[in-house]
């Protein structure tokens, strides 16, 4: 059985999961000499994910507007924290939406919804 919006939100959550790892990695390497912060463009990653869910995740890209410090590191801790919080909030939002939209579906799947 294929449910359209479930496939869609699988893609959304997969991309957000990948972003969460990348953002955690950026923060972990905030003091690594020469490290450059990476991120993935959400829309491109989502289209790729929806076109072929089994495909490898899109390659992360360096941030374009980052200021590079003397040690070659361009991680902005504040920026990464904001992105991370935002990404987490979006994941929670997507999960909440899926839950509310699937409530009826789950009821319909039960052999005897009223329990009588």
């Amino acid at each position: 059985m294929s449910v359209g919006f479930l496939n869609f939100y699988t893609g959304v959550l997969a991309v957000q999961q990948q972003r969460a790892s990348l953002l955690a990695n950026n923060i972990a390497n905030a003091d690594t000499p020469g490290y450059k912060a990476v991120d993935i463009p959400f829309d491109d990653a989502l289209s790729a994910q929806l076109a072929d869910p089994s495909a490898a995740p899109v390659d992360p890209q360096y941030r374009a507007s980052a200021t590079v410090a003397l040690d070659g590191n361009d991680v902005s801790l504040d920026n990464e924290r904001v992105e991370s919080a935002q990404n987490g909030e979006q994941m929670v939002g997507a999960a909440t939406f899926v839950r509310q939209s699937t409530a009826d579906l789950i009821t319909a799947l039960r052999p005897n919804p009223s329990g009588v």
Binding site: A20, S21, N29, D31, K36, P57, L70, D71, G88
Partner: protein, 170 residues
């Protein structure tokens, strides 16, 4: 691609920052250490990080505890591009590790104190080369990164909790 990657990445970050704070504590403790003439003064330790796959991830099954294996660090860390391709091939389970410790090459403090038994022929006592201000700045930086990592940890935990409650069939 799993949420536990985040926990390993944050774990490696907390480990690394902890090692750095340990070095800072040692430096600050030795800020007033002095040496006999001709002896090696206490030199400030500086922990250098490198982007590295988290131990236990599928990409790096056999990575060892890097803190015991101190490779030579290029003198000029500013031009060191290590870790620049951290994001290549969509690697997700990355993290940070302690690449090694470098000793500061700043000049040791010389204090004029002819009455000290540690004074040299000119009456100067050689102290450590630790700069208290530098160490405090480093400590604040380290502590900021530490708390950012903890914030990510809490965020990831909250999202996981939400996922669990969202997908439970009641």
């Amino acid at each position: 691609m799993s949420g536990s990657d985040i926990f390993s990445i944050v774990g490696s970050a907390l480990d690394a920052q902890n090692a750095r704070m340990g070095a800072i504590a040692s430096n600050l403790a030795n800020v007033d250490s002095i040496t006999t003439p001709g002896g090696t003064p206490y030199l400030a330790h500086e922990v250098v990080f490198a982007a590295a796959p988290v131990a236990g991830s599928s990409d790096a099954p056999g990575i060892q505890d890097a803190s015991f294996d101190i490779p030579a660090i290029p003198g000029d860390t500013a031009s060191n591009d290590a870790g620049i391709d951290a994001g290549q091939d969509g690697v997700q389970d990355m993290g940070v590790s302690v690449a090694g410790t470098v000793l500061s090459n700043a000049a040791p403090k010389q204090t004029y104190d002819p009455s000290s038994p540690y004074a040299n022929a000119q009456g100067y006592v050689t102290g450590s080369n630790v700069s208290q201000v530098d160490q405090m700045v480093d400590l604040i930086d380290s502590s900021n990164t530490y708390s950012a990592s903890v914030a990510v940890l809490q965020e990831a935990g909250r999202v996981d909790q939400q996922m669990l409650s969202s997908f439970q069939v009641s």
